[in-house]
Amino acid sequence: MEEKLVLHFPPTLIDKPIISDLVRKYDLHFNILKAYITPEEEGNLVLELKGEEKNLNSAIEELKNMGVKVQSIKSDVKMIEERCIHCTVCIPLCPVGAIYFEKETESVKFNPEKCIACGICIKACPTKAMVLTI
């Protein structure tokens, strides 16, 4: 089984080797897609975790118990196209280039495949075209 997750680490946990410990303990494979620290000093890690279903679930459980917020990337961000005015102000804020400008149509486009649900575009969009759907 494979899952794409966003892990939000509170500042107190940032420098602990949590992931490597878990991976060893539960025999998981992982692939880090993105790591960054927010202005509020929360550590964010976007990763794919692979392994046996019950091991994966135990690992997620353990993370939650430690105080790490675990968000599955299925709880997703969506662009409501009718609300987008194609201003571009969200583009430089997206950490993974999931929102981009398409030259041919002079339009702003959203690629949900790349999105890691960080939520910054939701804050940045003046017309509330970017929304969180759970």
Partner: protein, 399 residues
């Protein structure tokens, strides 16, 4: 070659006027030269679509039975306070108004989900809006309270009156500090993480007629999807700013006060805006026709993005503390490319103003003129020019 507005209007009525958008004009002038193009073209259309906080709406609700005196009382539209210091049933709701119970920035950065700009968008979209009034009783206006629903078609007048729109050029905002800041220019990431601008550049009305030779009191325009007029020069009008040789101001210069009938307007061109950590606003669509009366006017209207420069300003320290420091100048072609070079760093850019919508507005105005539905107006008088010494002052705080 010299044309008059009357001559151009005759051509418009006969369906013979030659009209292009400013973007099309730029292309033509590059290929054929201004001299030739100026003879051929009668009207150039411009457009802009961006947040403009100094906007608002006058409403007359009509009288209820028994009567109520809103003037001097408290009036709310969907919970957003309207200004009621006018006659019995006239109010003004400003784009930046917030509900009394909005947490504002107490939960920093505030969301500013709904405010005056959104009320205006809801009204123009034909939605029902809740009207609540609390006031005092008089012999001729006995009612003290009222709560009802209204929509745009119910009210007598709904007059959009914006004291300051259509800025001639604007700052490019950056953040030199070490923390993210939330401004009216959007979210700015630390240490030059991004650079935000807010102008349509080569399509923006006042950049296409930099000395307002054709735009003045009474100029008929596209406003919010309907027809509007230039009602005065805008607040903070500053024709005396430093300019480049081509007439383009180096910093924000002239502005316009605009007026129009909301009942003609469309929600596609008037949108409420929420600026995280800052407040609410109204995104206004404006298009101004420029009559090509002579070659000089054509040359100005054909100034391309590459020749329109905007000042880069730090919004973490310099802007809040009124320091007139400019970190650099960049042109709109660079800004629109998605990145600029600043202080030895490559900085990604974003715009608050929509160029795509600005282009749509310029095209719609062009269609109106081509179809003979929109005639040009002679301005009634000129606004103060650079030679007048008219400028804008800051507020001195004294005991």
């Amino acid at each position: 070659m010299r044309k008059t507005i009357a001559e151009i209007n005759e051509k418009i009525k006969k369906g013979k006027a030659v009209v292009v958008t400013a973007e099309e004009l730029i292309d033509m002038c590059k290929k054929q030269g201004v001299k030739k193009v100026a003879k051929e073209i009668d009207v150039v259309t411009t457009g802009t679509f961006g947040p403009m906080c100094s906007s608002g709406l006058f409403i007359n609700f009509g009288h209820a039975n028994p009567r109520i005196k809103m003037g001097g009382g408290k009036v709310y539209l969907n919970g957003v306070p309207a200004y009621a210091g006018l006659a019995a049933v006239d109010v003004y709701i400003g784009a930046s108004a917030l509900p009394d119970n909005d947490p504002r920035n107490t939960e920093y950065p505030g969301d500013f989900k709904y405010g005056g700009g959104h009320v205006i968008e809801d009204l123009v979209a034909g939605k029902e809006v809740k009207l609540e009034v609390m006031t005092y009783k008089t012999d001729c206006y006995p009612r003290k309270e009222l709560s009802t629903w209204i929509k745009l078609s119910d009210v007598n007048e709904a007059i959009l009156f914006n004291p300051r729109n259509c800025y001639q050029n604007y700052n490019v905002a950056v953040n030199l500090s070490k923390k993210t800041i939330y401004t009216y220019m959007g979210i700015l990431k630390p240490e030059l993480g991004n650079a935000n601008y807010c102008s349509a550049g080569q399509l923006s009305p006042l950049l296409k007629d930099p000395y307002l030779k054709t735009i003045g009191f009474g100029t008929r325009i596209f406003l919010g999807g309907g027809v509007g007029y230039v009602a005065w020069w805008g607040t903070q009008f500053n024709p005396s700013v430093k300019r480049r040789k081509n007439g383009i101001p180096l910093s924000p210069g002239c502005t316009l006060a605009l007026i129009g009938d909301l009942k003609q307007m469309k929600p596609e061109f008037l949108r409420g805006a929420s600026l995280t950590g800052y407040g609410v606003s109204l995104i206004v669509g404006i298009g101004i026709p420029i009559p090509v009366l002579n070659e000089e006017i054509c040359r100005w209207a054909a100034i391309p993005d590459e020749e329109i420069y905007a000042p880069v300003v730090d919004y973490s320290n310099d802007y809040p503390n009124c320091k007139d420091k400019v970190l650099g100048e960049v042109n709109y072609a660079q800004l629109k490319s998605g990145k600029i070079e600043l202080m030895g760093k490559e900085v990604p850019t974003g715009s608050l103003s929509s160029y795509k919508k600005a282009k749509e507005i310029a095209s719609i105005l062009k269609e109106w003129i081509l179809k003979g539905e929109f005639l040009l107006t002679e301005k009634i008088f000129d606004f103060p020019g650079p030679e007048s010494g008219y400028t804008f002052k800051s507020l001195k705080i004294r005991e």
